[in-house]
Point group: C2
Chain length 415, copies 2
């Protein structure tokens, strides 16, 4: 597979650039002085690295603060407009393209509805490409000012190079995609700069990333963001980076078995977590127990369920299943934090969180459970684009903002 790759003394500089850039990105404006201890670099190196970064336009000065009686320290920050990022959310019902500056402020956004059911991949690719062109135009950003594009898709993304096609391949049963070489198709249109970093990952994972960077997961080094919507998924963060597994399809928590031989799940197996706590399955169970609703969308229906005093038992049972599922995560991953997200998760949260915590405590081992907190997500489902944009951003920071041209094929899931 991948040959061993470690190189020269130049990489030191790249790493130090990355360290400085990251520190400055996350921990606000800092002076060169403070940067030293924080990055374990000597004052000399800080000076060199910073002036290089300033020359490259990645850093800018941001005022200064007095230092009693001496030269004031000048603060540094990442220049928000030194590059732009795009996030794409390919959902089951719409495509959403959003343009951000480096600090992930929204600059422009377009939404394109998608007809129900199967989506011809070619069509979707066209929509994405024109959406990108549109947001760039709206915000008056040149295409080569794009640092990278992240795309969240509904389905499993295979980052392994199997199949011959270069780049990410998407298997999305929900929208009828089977081994769609999304990255190659997008590139082949020739509208994007040929070397533009392109990242494709599961939409649930990108949502999880957003939650980790800017939501309830902030600060945790190892965490699991659970996403409960119509179906159920999860995004596992180990040591600050998404855990990918051998082919990028790790974290399929929804199809974890909670009852051997139990309810039939839409994946074909029996007793999956999703078959009990996914919104679709939950409503189905409500109907079976005599519930009914008038809303035409799942979201409204679920709200009606929550308002029904007769659904208490159903909800308690759901909490037990969800708690047991979370306990599995606690036992297997031993995270510091578990975030319950997804539109259904956020809707159910206020009602279920406490019973879920109790169930998780009962089902999990004491020791790892004591290390974990279970919290509600803080970001809505629209954060998929933000999370997707996070992918090229992470790469950008990790490279120290270097011109990304060389070697290493750019593939989804690259950390």
């Amino acid at each position: 597979m991948a040959g061993p790759r470690r190189r020269t003394v130049r990489d030191l500089r790249r790493n130090n650039r990355a360290t400085v850039l990251r520190k400055l990105y996350f921990d606000g404006p800092l002076s060169r002085q403070e940067l030293g201890p924080l990055t374990a670099l000597s004052s000399g190196s800080i000076s060199n690295v910073v002036s290089e970064l300033v020359a490259d336009g990645l850093l800018e000065e941001a005022g200064s603060v007095d230092s009693d009686g001496g030269r004031p320290r000048t603060l540094l920050r990442v220049a928000p407009h030194c590059g732009h990022l795009a996030g794409v959310d390919i959902g089951e019902t719409r495509v959403r393209v959003e343009l951000f500056d480096l600090t992930l402020n929204e600059l422009a956004c377009v939404d394109a509805p998608l007809p129900d059911g199967h989506h011809d991949a070619q069509d979707v690719v066209r929509i994405v490409a024109s959406g990108l062109a549109q947001v760039l135009g709206e915000a008056k950003v040149a295409p080569d000012a794009l640092i990278g594009v992240g795309i969240g898709v509904p389905g499993i993304v295979d980052a392994s190079d199997a199949g011959g096609a270069v780049g990410a391949v998407v298997h999305g049963q929900a929208i009828g995609w089977d081994a769609v070489p999304l990255e190659a198709m997008l590139r082949d249109r020739g509208e994007l700069p040929p070397e533009l970093p392109l990242f494709v990952d599961n939409g649930a994972k990108t949502l999880g990333l957003a939650e980790m960077w800017f939501g309830a997961g902030r600060g945790a080094r190892t965490a699991v963001v659970t996403l409960i919507g119509s179906g159920v998924g999860a995004c596992v963060i180990a040591d600050g980076v998404p855990y990918q597994g051998s082919s990028g399809s790790a974290g399929e928590w929804g199809h974890t078995t909670l009852r051997v031989g139990g309810r039939r799940c839409r994946c074909g197996a029996r007793g999956c977590l999703e078959a009990y706590v996914g919104a679709e399955a939950l409503l189905e169970r409500w109907r079976e127990s005599g519930g009914h609703w008038t809303s035409t969308d799942e979201e409204g229906a679920l709200a009606e369920l929550l308002a029904d005093p007769g659904a208490g038992e159903l909800l308690d049972e759901t909490a037990e299943f969800l708690g047991a599922g979370i306990a599995d995560l606690v036992n297997l991953f031993n995270p510091e934090r578990i975030v319950v997200g997804g539109w259904a998760g956020l809707l159910l949260g206020p009602r279920l969180l406490e019973p879920v915590r109790r169930a998780a405590a009962a089902y999990a081992l004491r020791h790892p459970y004591a290390q974990t907190t279970i919290e509600l997500g803080r970001l809505g489902p629209d954060a998929v684009t933000v999370g997707a944009a996070t992918l090229p951003l992470a790469r950008f920071l990790a490279e120290g903002g270097a011109a990304i041209t060389s070697g290493e094929p750019i593939v989804s899931g690259a950390s």
Copy 2:
């Protein structure tokens, strides 16, 4: 917690030493010539690094092979006696201390039985210390020729520094240990060289490591080694290193819930995997369904179960549970390989492997399942010591064989 640490140009050399050392360790004798492409180092660097390592006594020449018409290449290999490793297995019924050379050949071994039930930690520590002294004496190895000691314990090892005590703290319900600061106790005896690297980890995990290094897991970068004995555990390897979680207690697969509200498990929860496929639980279930045995030990009893033609249904059910449990691992971790080990796993393997594969295929998602192979372990339960010795060895290789003196507190779980 841990401040950011990255340093100087000297680390480059350390890394390259490590790369060369590792390559040579795993892929047998190689010439300097071959080493170049394999480590992505220039011939000059290879020359420098190798001569340094030879001067340090870590490498030695191992014959030469003709190169048609030119100067023959001299082969290099790691010097097996340039250092020694000790592995300790603290089991529920005995302590086992084994001494290895660098290639993990056994040099000496002592076994000390432990009385049943609770074990006073102080006693165990004494036994370990004297065991170490004994194997060193038997093999005529000086204590400072020890590269490090690895210890496998039955219980959860907390590597986080909570509690004030420096070093690994062990929570072992099975032997009545609660927050035993094993590392500190061992060091406080003062018999070991004060800077000797000491690693403590769960015995199941060290067994898993052994399987990864020398058994059925060889070559896989991400894998899960499942360990079925009286109880059930697992060792998760992500990208070649053990996945630890936030406090080192990840991989508690045995207490994953397979049936919400199901059988009571000895951990207190209901429906754990262990409550169905652990040997203890399996025998219990056999008894409930009318089985009986004459052996006094679980191993013999399990053999009798396997020989009983009337137990077919029970075994099929067990296979379904085990398959579902493995499917959970496949869905969550997306490994390239799953190894079924542990004494009970190995005993049940020939009978159960096929039905387990079928069940796993049914319960897991198609895509990740297609990426995985499910295999039997190849190492017996005695490999705990080998796996434990693997811990300091990994550190030794990662440090490029550098004198391990400085900085970084030496703690279990350090990768």
